[in-house]
Structures are given as structure tokens and as C-alpha cells.
């Protein structure tokens, strides 16, 4: 492999290399510094005259005298069964003091798109033990369901609780967790690691850590390494893999940084115009493939800048993922854990994983009715602030009370409280709904009311 010393310009994370032989688009590049250390990069633009290389680490120490080698192939990730239980850097190098990974395979980290015809429809209900997820925003295997949070909110605790409690009732299949951290603080990372160790989850986990003080551009490959690993565990080894990606906001910032360095025409709020496509390349790697045993389920976490759900990062994410779990500052202030606001939350695959044969026949309608009642009660709070409770009709007062009950009993639960779907969550829902007159339950068929409503159940 030829080494070039023809770097002409360095701008941010980009190197402009001249007078090369024909170089392939998206090839892996090794850059050797004067002290002998090697950094990695990837070709972003290639032509006869000039090759643009994006470096995945800091460009500190790279100069016009650095050596550039083009490897002739796309970035590949060595994968193997031994990865379970290991902690790797955001660039995929072991950082737990253990040995190098002995690869069973080397896989392209970009990951080709799953042929939609080869997908199998997700349908297996995952019980997380959290009512606001299981009851009203159900997660199913093969789904991509992000947590939309904001600075200072307990999204990490929620993610950990999901990782600890998630199970498919009645199934004993092999599972694994792939955890990818991008730009989170050492403290946050420690919290994750300690929890993994305390519960023994680490044995079944592969951890990728790119921390706040690690190079930002490395974050571009961290989720791809994590997903390549997840796909290997799922499709080659037949495991059901839960992938937690945190914090996607930091990933997007890195993307913006590279766009700016390339002097591209920026899209909304300075993020690249291709951010939708780029994020889709990550999120769409969740799923189930016909004829293969395993599955990849994704829970990306992102913090909404300025708590703004219309910010391009949550916005584009929401347009790609199959719903979102929204963590609310207001509920957090009220001291409610998990502070999940069900109103803007959604699971689009819920309908595939609930109902007869999955959870319970009344699931969908109970959920709809709780939403409607909570939304109505929640609206009335605004009115009460202006006109006072006395100006409300009797009907309104009932809904107002329902909203409080819903938050205090349905939403609120312990950080280690693992509720079952039937008795833990749906029956609790019926208990709350039974505080409303039966005729107000317009979303539920009479038949189901007679079967599940406490008033009739008691008889």
C-alpha cells in the first residue's frame, strides 16, 4: 500500500490530499503521524485531483508531513461472539484491559439496507414493566422507539430500567444488549456501567464508549459499530438484541461539524440537508428478517435542545422512528418518576403487538380511553387556572380528577417496580377509568366494559 505525503490542506476534521492514484469513495484511510501513531479516516470525496478525507479522531498532530495510506476497502468491523461482556472505545478498540477481539467475521459498518420484502413484521410484545410504555406506548421486538428527553431529566434511569426489566413474557430466547455512548459524561457512563455490573447485565452486553472528552467526529462511527455488532449478534448468532444509543444529539452535532468543515450549504438550523437520510441509515437498522432467528430493537436517546420537540434533531428522528417516548420536565418537577408524558408519546407498532393473543383484548381501547380522558383533564387544568374549579361542570371536575389520578398512580412507579401487563398495568387502568361514569367511556365497546370494568367484574 502506497503512502502519500501530499496533504495540502487541513480544515477541521478534513484532510485534502493531492496527487493520488484513483481512490475509492468511502475507503478507510490510515494516517501516520510523526510519532508513529496512526489515526483513521474515511474518503468523503474523490477525484483525479483531490481526495477529501474525514478523520475520525482529532486532527491534532497531523501535518503536511503525515503519511496517508488508502486501504482500498470500506471500514470494516471485526466481530465475534467474544464481544459479549466487553467494553470498547467509540472507535471499537477494547478499553477494558482485555485482549483484542478475535474476529469471526469482518463486517462493513455502513450496513446495507434491509430489503423491505425480507422484513418480517414486528409483533412480539416486550414487557418493560413500565405502565406508560407497556400500557399506552407499547414496545415490540424489532421496533425503533427513541426517548426524547432534555438536559437534567432522568432518561438514563428510564433506559436502564427498560434494559433491566425488558422481557418477552413466556420466551426464553437468547438476548443481548448493545450499548453505545456518544459524548456522554464520565459520570453518566459510570452510572450505566455500575448498573450493568450490579445486575450482571454486562455479561450479555457489548459496550461502546465515546465520552464527552473523546473526539467528536468519532461519534459518526460509534452507532454504526454498535449496530454492526448488533446485527451480527442478531442475524448470525440468533439473539434478540436491544440497542441503546445515547445521546443522538451529540451524534448530530458531530454531523453538523463535518458539514460546516466541508462548507456545505446548511439545512435547517445549520444541520446538513442530508441529516434525515443519514439518521435513517442508523435507525432503519432495527428490525426482524424473515427466516432469521434474532432481532434488533433500538432505543435511541436524545436530549432536545431547549426542550424543543420541533428542533431538527427530535423532528427528523420522530419522522424516522416508530414513535417516541417523551420525558417531561413538568412531571419531573412534580416529583413523578418516570416523568413520561404520554400525550406526545407514541408507539406506532403498538397495534401489532397488543390485543388478543399478544397482551389482552381490551388493551387498545383501554389505552385510547385513558388518553382521551387524560387529555381532556389536562386541558381543563388551564381553564381552572383562569376561572377556578367552581366554574367547572360536574363532568369536567371528574376529568380533572382523573388527570391527577392518572399521573399519581399510572405514570408514577418505582425505579425497580416491574409491573406485569395484565394485573400491573391494564387492570390499574380500568381502576382509574372506573372513577368516570360508564357512559363517558365512549371509546370502549359495551362488551369489553362488561367483561373488564371493576363495576361489572365485582358482580
Amino acid at each position: 500500500m502506497k503512502e502519500y505525503r501530499t496533504i495540502n490542506r487541513i480544515a477541521g476534521p478534513l484532510l485534502f490530499v493531492e496527487k493520488t492514484e484513483p481512490i475509492g469513495y468511502e475507503e478507510l484511510v490510515n494516517i501516520t503521524l510523526a510519532d508513529g501513531s496512526v489515526k483513521r479516516g474515511q474518503v468523503l470525496d474523490t477525484s483525479d485531483e483531490l481526495v477529501v478525507v474525514q478523520v475520525f479522531e482529532t486532527t491534532t498532530g497531523i501535518g503536511r508531513d503525515s503519511g496517508v495510506r488508502f486501504t482500498g476497502e470500506a471500514i470494516k468491523m471485526p466481530v465475534g461472539r467474544e464481544m459479549l461482556g466487553r467494553i470498547l472505545s467509540g472507535g471499537g478498540k477494547p478499553i477494558d484491559g482485555g485482549p483484542e477481539i478475535v474476529p469471526e467475521k469482518r463486517l462493513d459498518i455502513t450496513g446495507a439496507a434491509i430489503n423491505p420484502y425480507a422484513r418480517s413484521s414486528p409483533a412480539d410484545f416486550i414487557q418493560t414493566g413500565i405502565s406508560t410504555i407497556d400500557g399506552t406506548n407499547t414496545l415490540v421486538r424489532g421496533q425503533k422507539l427513541p426517548i426524547f428527553s432534555a438536559a437534567g431529566l432522568p432518561h438514563n434511569n428510564i433506559a436502564l430500567q427498560i434494559a433491566r426489566q425488558a422481557k418477552v413474557p413466556g420466551s426464553t430466547e437468547d438476548f443481548a444488549v448493545v450499548f453505545a455512548a456518544m459524548g456522554i459524561t464520565k459520570e453518566e457512563a459510570n452510572a450505566f456501567m455500575q448498573d450493568f455490573e450490579r445486575t450482571g447485565a454486562l455479561e450479555r452486553a457489548v459496550v461502546f464508549l465515546n465520552l464527552a472528552d473523546d473526539p467528536a467526529v468519532e461519534r459518526i462511527i460509534t452507532p454504526r459499530l454498535a449496530l454492526t455488532t448488533a446485527e451480527y449478534l442478531a442475524y448470525d448468532l440468533g439473539m434478540h438484541v436491544l440497542v441503546i444509543l445515547t445521546d443522538m444529539t451529540n451524534y448530530c452535532e458531530a454531523l453538523r461539524q463535518i458539514g460546516a468543515a466541508r462548507e456545505e450549504v446548511p439545512g435547517r438550523r445549520g444541520y446538513p440537508g442530508y441529516m434525515y437520510t443519514d439518521l435513517a441509515g442508523i435507525y432503519e437498522r432495527a428490525g426482524i428478517i424473515k427466516g432469521k432467528k434474532g432481532s434488533v430493537t433500538q432505543i435511541p436517546i436524545l436530549t432536545m435542545p431547549g426542550d424543543d420537540i420541533t428542533h431538527p434533531i427530535p423532528d427528523l428522528t420522530g419522522y424516522i422512528t416508530e414513535g417516541q417516548i417523551v420525558v417531561s420536565r413538568e412531571l419531573h418537577r412534580k416529583g413523578i418518576y418516570p416523568p413520561i408524558n404520554v400525550l406526545p408519546s407514541l408507539s406506532r407498532l403498538m397495534n401489532l403487538g397488543i390485543g388478543k393473543g399478544h397482551t389482552r383484548e381490551d388493551h387498545k381501547k383501554v389505552s385510547d380511553q385513558m388518553y382521551a380522558a387524560y387529555a381532556e383533564g389536562n386541558d381543563l387544568r388551564g381553564l381552572v387556572a383562569i376561572v377556578g374549579k367552581d366554574a367547572l361542570s360536574e363532568r369536567d371536575r371528574m376529568f380533572l380528577e382523573f388527570a391527577d389520578l392518572f399521573e399519581q398512580r399510572f405514570v408514577r412507579q418505582g425505579i425497580d417496580e416491574d409491573r406485569t401487563i395484565g394485573e400491573g398495568t391494564l387492570d390499574l387502568g380500568w381502576d382509574l377509568l372506573s372513577t368516570l361514569p360508564v357512559e363517558q367511556l365512549s371509546r370502549i365497546d359495551r362488551e369489553l366494559i362488561e367483561k373488564y370494568h371493576p363495576k361489572f367484574r365485582a358482580k
Binding site: V52, R119, G142, Y235, H311, G318, R348, I386
Partner: protein
Amino acid sequence: MEVNEEQKTTAGVLKRIAGPVVTAVGLNAHMYDVVKVGNEELMGEVIKVDGDANIIQVYENTTGLRPGEPVSNTGLSLAVELGPGLLTSIYDGIQRPLEVLVEKMGSFIERGVSAPGIPRDKKWEFKALAKVGDDVSPGAILGEVQETNIVHRIMVPPNMKGGRIATITSGSFTVEETICTLEDGTEFQMMHRWPVRVPRPVMEKKNPTIPLITGQRILDGLFPIAKGGTAAIPGPFGSGKTVTQQQLAKWSDAEIVVYIGCGERGNEMTEVLTEFPELEDPKSGKPLMERTILIANTSNMPVAAREASVYTGITIAEYFRDMGYDVSLMADSTSRWAEAMREISSRLEEMPGEEGYPAYLAARLSEFYERAGLVTTLAGASGSVSVIGAVSPPGGDFSEPVTQNTLRIVKVFWALDAKLSQRRHFPAINWLNSYSLYLDTLGPWYDTEVSPEWNPLRSWAMEVLQKEAELQEIVQLVGSDALPETEQITIEVARLIREVFLQQNAYDAVDTFCEMKKQYDMMKAIRSYADQSYAAQAAGVSPTQIISIKAKNDLPQIKFVKDYEPMLDGILKAMESEFTTLRSSA
């Protein structure tokens, strides 16, 4: 899409690769020529000619391509293959059958594999309808094939000359075998190609007069789209664009459905693929899949093919229209299509227009929607293409360019509203902002086919909803008890219209589809409550009593019952007797 080897004309070499757009020199190509790029012969299309250089958008992943690799020109435009074998297919954006791709390359989409759009080896039973000696012109029907439960008519391709038929044979043929020859020696096969960026010709465009009945109450009842019409359904993420489009694909009374998943989710396409074969067309009783063609170029598939997917879909739709069918086409989402244009355009370093979109965005959108319409085909039959486009505005803000440019063209606007979807009011279509410009032209159809009472009933419901919105503003300030009595009743009537009529659960086995007669009966029942309420109030009954009429609370239940009439009758009778009791005690 497949291109014959011998059609390659000139040879060029790659100069530069940066994402899905590459530059080649020495090609001598024309705009929109299809070219084969690199050693693996990836398919691409020339989108800019700049001196000796040709800028090419590549329909497959360009990783690993190097300067110096060969590029060859096929001299053909991007075209789709039209003929028996289209129905029930699922294609990518450039009409490669995804099922065949799975056979050829497994579960993931690799590149450099081509596959014909319609099967070559399959034999179809061709029944000649034209006879020897007949003079046929472009678009004329030569014969037919029973493809699924749909009859596939074989036409003289509109881009060929007609003439007098010398031979025509019924029998079993593949799509490439000749079924008919003309006296001048022209041969016709069951398959022909059509360039996707060129609209197929028609004799005449007509004004639509018949609604596309969708079984969705808020659409058929309040904001109908005509057969041959255009509609846009914009909304923020998770507000119901895809569910609505899929409802239309399932239940609308079109004869053929083309569903384009343009830059959206893989699982959504899988859902259609698993669900449609199980569902029955309410009219024919046959699996819905038999009338359906899917185009799936998901968000993580190449953007250039995403750009093409919309053209591939509309061309197939026009082809079935030309057979005399009513076709409906859903494009989910046109915003992803516009973004693909933007992405390609920015790589061309074109001068960006509004929000980085190319200056030709508006033109492309209107060209696309212009391909909808009710037409007289070249063969003199009537056919239509209705187009329903989803729009995904960033941040849910309708003032952005794609929404705005779309609204300038389409005749129906179904405005999705996050506030409604958050409270699970579905379909989350805002009844105050939405509109249909077809109301007047469709009015007569509702008069004769539903009831002369329907149009006034519809106007009444819209007025009540308008009024409610005004009243709600007051309620927000002073509480509902402060409203005059009649208006307290109006609020209750509006609530019934919303919760009984407008809300419709796509996932309920019965409520998912609601025929026009039931829609009418439901609205009439609400009207009956309203009339009796105002009468009772005038007779001195208090609004609290009127609002607590019990029978009306059962109205939502009829949504979930198929044979709803006895139940509805019961409710109406009970309601009447409650009112009688109230009035007599007043």
C-alpha cells in the same frame, strides 16, 4: 429496469465521486440518459451536462467507486416496463422487484444487480379482442389478459404508430412474444416501456364529478376528493399521514391502487405486504393485494432512486388509467421526494432556492400532480388517476416550501393536527383548516346517490363545528356555565359530531370502513338530537337536563357494529322518549 447490452453507445470514465452524485467525462450523453457506472455497472441517470463532463445521479450505493472506472451510455431514458405481471408486485424506486432481489442477493440490498420489472418467463393467457383487418391507433385495445381478478388490457403503445392488423392470436404468451403484427410489419408484444418522466398521452382531460369513496367519514362526509382529483395530507410526525394513506389504499373504491413508500420506513411496507393479502376488497371480495402495486424506496435506500420512485409510480398508474380504470395513487411522503431533489441539487452546487430546495421544486410538484385527472383515454374510454400526497413539514410548520407549493396545486387539503393526534382523536384531521374544492362539483352525486338531505346536513355540521370553535374561545375565558343555554347545547352537539362522526378508529374491524349510508344515518341521528334539544330548550327544559339525555351516549357504539340499524333505531326511540318525558315535566 433492464437495458440491453448492445444498446450501449459511448464510453466514458469516472472523474469524481462524492456521494450519490458522480462526474464522468467522454460520455457524450444527453440529459436523462441512463448510464452504467463503474466496473459493477451501477445504474445512473445523467442530470447535468457541463462541457465535456456529465453529472450523474447513481441509483445504487457508490461506496468504493474510483476515478478512472468506466461509464457507458445506454442512450435510453429511465423507463418502466408495462405489461402483465405488475399487479401485486413490490418494487424499489427504479422498478426492480424486491422479491426477485431477495432471491438474487439475500435479505439486504446489495448493488450491481439488475432485475426485469415484469417476469419474462411467465406465460399469460392472451385473449385477442381486435381482429385481423382492424385499424388500430395508439392506445387502442388489442386484447386482454386475466391477470389477477383484474383484467389487464393490452394496448398499442402510445408512442408507436398504429395501422391495420395483419395477424393477431389468442393464446399463451410471455410478455416478450409477439401477439399481433400490423400490415407494415410492426410487431406488438404484451410489454412495452415508457419513460417515467414523460406523462402518457390522453385524448382529453375532463372535470371530475364522482367522489372517490374512501369509507373514512371525515373524508367522504366533509372533505371529499373526486376520482381523478388531487389531495395533500400534511402533518407533523406521528399525526396519521401513513395510516390515512393506507386506509385509502385499503378501502377507497378505486380499481387499482399504486402505493409509493418514498423515503419512509421499511416496517410500514412490510405491514402492507403482510396485511393486504389478508384483507378483502369490500366490492369484489378478492384480496386487496390483487389490485395493488407497491413501490418501496425506504429512507435508507439510495436517494436518487427515491427521487425516481414517484415517477415510476405515477407512470404505472397512468398505464392502468389508459386501460379505462380508476386508479388511486398514494405518495408517502412527497417531502422525502423533495428532499431527495434537494440533496442531489446541492451536490450539483446549484443555486439553492427557498430553504435549500432547488428553484424548480414548485415546477416538479405541479408537473407531478398534473398527471392526475379524469380523462378520456386514447381508446375513448374513461379512466382516472387520483393522487394523494403526504407532506412531512419540518417541525410540523405548514409555512415551509413543500407544503406551500403543494397547496397551490392540489384541490383537497386534509390538515393533520398534532393537538388532535395527541389526544387520540383520529383521524387527526383538523376540520377547521381542511377543505375540498370539489364540494360543488360533487354535490349532485351526493344528492342522487346518498340523499338530497346530505348536502344540507353536511353544511349544518360544518356550521356547528365552526360555532363550537368560537364558543370554545369564550369557554376558555369564562367557563362553560357562563354560556347562554342554546350555546351550551351547541357545544354538546359539536362534541357528538366530533366523537361520534369524525372520530374513526382505523384499527377497529368494523369502524375501519364506513359506507356512505351509515355516514348519513349517523349524521342524521346527531341532527335529530340537536333538533329535539333546541325544541326542548325552547319549551323550558334546562340544558343540564338536555345534556344528560342518556340515549345519545350510546351513539358511539354503533360505530363498532356492522348491522347497526336495529341498534340505531333503538337509540333514536329511547332518545325520543327521554325528550318526551323531559318536555312533559318542564
